[in-house]
């Protein structure tokens, strides 16, 4: 890690408090043992390990933490949370960080965010996820038109694909939830 001078900054302090409230946990509890990083199945692909992400937050290096690719690589498998000897809910912290990065428009991994957006758009539209359209939308958005196309036909012949989304009875109610969440000040709980 590069050297960065640390000075107190009220805005950054407020950011940390918000993340902590959202995830119901405290970064200061962490004593940097590294058990989270040791058990993390995706640490091999991360730029900062989960332990380092928490350290960044402890040092109030907020921008570095938000821009870490790690928060988008986290698979939310909860291994870190289950094993933390200090009871830090690291997986929820990662969740809160992703939401914060979205709100601030600093998304390091656009693919993950695009997928999530495509996913939620479909839920809002149909009440459920329609896997075919999700794959198509995601591929279009990320410019990888033929990704997983080899799986399409076998899926179809096995009766695992509905070409058209189902007409869900509760469709309008689900749509209403999206609408109300937006009205209620949406992005932060």
């Amino acid at each position: 890690m590069e050297r960065v001078l640390v000075a107190p900054n009220p805005a950054k302090k407020e950011f940390i408090r918000r993340i902590e409230r959202e995830s119901g946990t405290e970064v200061s509890l962490c004593y940097q043992c590294g058990k989270c990083a040791a058990g993390c199945p995706v640490a091999f692909a991360m730029d900062y390990t989960p332990r380092q992400v928490i350290r960044l937050l402890q040092l109030e290096l907020v921008d570095e933490a938000l821009k870490a690719e790690s928060i988008w690589i986290c698979a939310t498998c909860e291994t870190c949370t289950a094993r933390c000897p200090r009871g830090v809910d690291i997986a929820s912290l990662m969740d809160a960080m992703r939401r914060e990065a979205l709100a601030q428009g600093v998304v390091t991994d656009k693919k993950v965010a695009s997928f999530n957006q495509a996913f939620l758009n479909l839920v809002e539209k149909y009440g459920r996820v329609h896997e075919v359209e999700l794959t198509l939308q995601f591929n279009l958005k990320t410019g990888q038109l033929f990704k997983d196309m080899d799986l399409g036909l076998p899926m179809f012949t096995r009766g695992k694909v509905h070409l058209l989304p189902a007409a869900v009875k509760g469709r309008q109610e689900v749509k209403n939830i999206f609408e109300r969440v937006r009205q209620m000040g949406g992005d932060r709980s």
């Binding site: 995706v42 692909a45 690589i73 969740d95 809160a96 993950v112 995601f138 695992k160 694909v161 949406g186």
Partner: protein, 408 residues
């Protein structure tokens, strides 16, 4: 007993066999399922990465419909189960959030009911004995690796029906069905389902590690209770094989498929013929008998090590035996040592023309593997020297024997 049934989006399409087999299993075991009318997507895993209120409101609506009927909910999909459990937890613990959730869904909801995973229903609601009573087609000879994945057992605050590091409920069910589940290291490791579409470089590696460990531990199949795990391990197995240049051909079953089949339902009826990796032939042609467990994990190195260990223990046993022999009676000390084949061979090579010496040396080597090792090593370099050393050993042995006799 009656449960509200929340299949979730996957079970409607890519995991259709999980849906078929869950319903079949329930009817065989006498559990009545009532599908939640007009259920919607739970939002996993995109909603909780995007908006917290939304991520709680989406499952809350489905749970609220079931709560009105006074029913607990069966959610076979591990991701739906996890989101539903998280929702219940938050609604019970966080009054302020609960109020906002009720406002968002426009319905009363207090989380007075609870969501159950398929494993909880099988082990706790139905019970292992009740399952055992229904088994007519035991899965003898099957050696599955029971794969729980991440969301069924973690986090403990939400789930808590099994151990987060060493869960056993699925293993117990498989044993009741007549199978012999293997012990392995990746039972709660994440398969990377949420990453495989967006970051295949990361996701496929995770799936590879799971398949590899299952094969190394002697599993003939994997059992899951999650449509995302199944999709990753089954549908994407060919991608994993291509990426890493290996061949697994490991069938991946849903636990409900196996319960149904063991209870006499035809594999076709629960959709086992719809898998990507051949699973139908496997389940209809089980060996029916328990084979000997494989001696050691595959790989020549492991085999060599195991051979060495076997050799060492054999020698150890011989040593032990020789010390356990009753002390030779005076004058008859030639008798009781059990001859070791290797020792006889070495002795024959040392003294090809002297039958008496062969016998003496064989006896000595069988009794004292250290000396045999020394001589054998020397033999490889310098035969004459080895013969001299062996003769010296024999002389010494004869002398000590004579001393013992004279003492008595």
């Amino acid at each position: 007993m009656k449960l509200a049934y929340y299949p979730g989006c996957s079970l409607d399409a890519s995991a259709i066999e999980y849906n078929l087999s869950t319903q079949k299993t329930a009817s065989v075991l006498g559990v009545e399922l009532e599908e939640i009318p007009g259920w919607g997507c739970c939002g996993a895993t995109s909603a909780h990465s995007t908006n917290k209120l939304l991520s709680v409101a989406l499952p809350a609506r489905n749970l609220a419909i079931a709560e009105k009927e006074g029913l607990d909910v069966l959610a076979p999909c591990a991701a739906c189960y996890s989101r539903s459990r998280a929702t219940e937890h938050l609604v019970r613990e966080d009054a302020e959030l609960a109020e906002r959730v009720r406002e968002a869904i426009g319905m009363p909801y207090t989380a007075s009911n609870r969501t159950l995973s398929i494993l909880e229903v099988l082990v706790q609601t139905v019970g292992l004995e009740a399952i055992a009573a229904k088994v007519t087609n035991p899965l003898k000879g099957m050696k599955p690796a029971c794969y729980y994945g991440c969301l069924l057992v973690r986090p403990v605050e939400y789930t808590g029906f099994d151990d987060p590091e060493y869960p056993q409920s699925m293993d117990k069910i498989m044993k009741v069905l007549g199978a012999n589940p293997v012990k392995w290291s990746y039972q709660t490791e994440c398969c990377g389902a949420s990453l495989v579409t967006m970051r295949p470089d990361v996701g496929l590696k995770m799936t590879y590690a799971i398949l590899k460990n299952a094969v190394e531990q002697g599993a003939d199949s994997i059992v899951t209770a999650c449509p995302l795990c199944h999709m990753n391990l089954d549908m994407r197995q060919s991608q994993v094989e291509k990426t890493f240049g290996v061949e697994f051909n490991l069938p991946v079953y849903y636990i409900t498929e196996l319960v149904a089949v063991a209870c006499g339902v035809s594999p076709k009826e629960v959709g086992i013929d719809r898998h990507f990796v051949e699973a139908f032939y496997h389940i209809t042609h089980l060996p029916q008998e328990m084979e000997e467990p494989p001696a050691e994990p595959e790989g020549k190195k492991a085999q060599k090590i195991s051979e060495k260990i076997a050799e060492a223990t054999q020698q150890g046993q011989l040593e032990k035996k020789s010390t356990e022999e009753p002390a030779p009676e005076s004058g008859e000390k030639t008798q009781p040592v059990e001859l070791n084949k290797g020792a006889v061979k070495l002795a024959e090579r040392l003294f090809p023309d002297d039958q008496e010496k062969v016998e003496q040396a064989a006896r000595l080597f069988s009794k004292d593997p250290e000396k045999m090792k020394k001589v054998a090593q020397m033999m490889a370099q310098d035969k004459e020297k080895a013969v001299k050393v062996a003769e010296a050993f024999l002389k010494k042995e004869a002398k000590s024997g004579a001393e013992e006799v004279s003492k008595e």
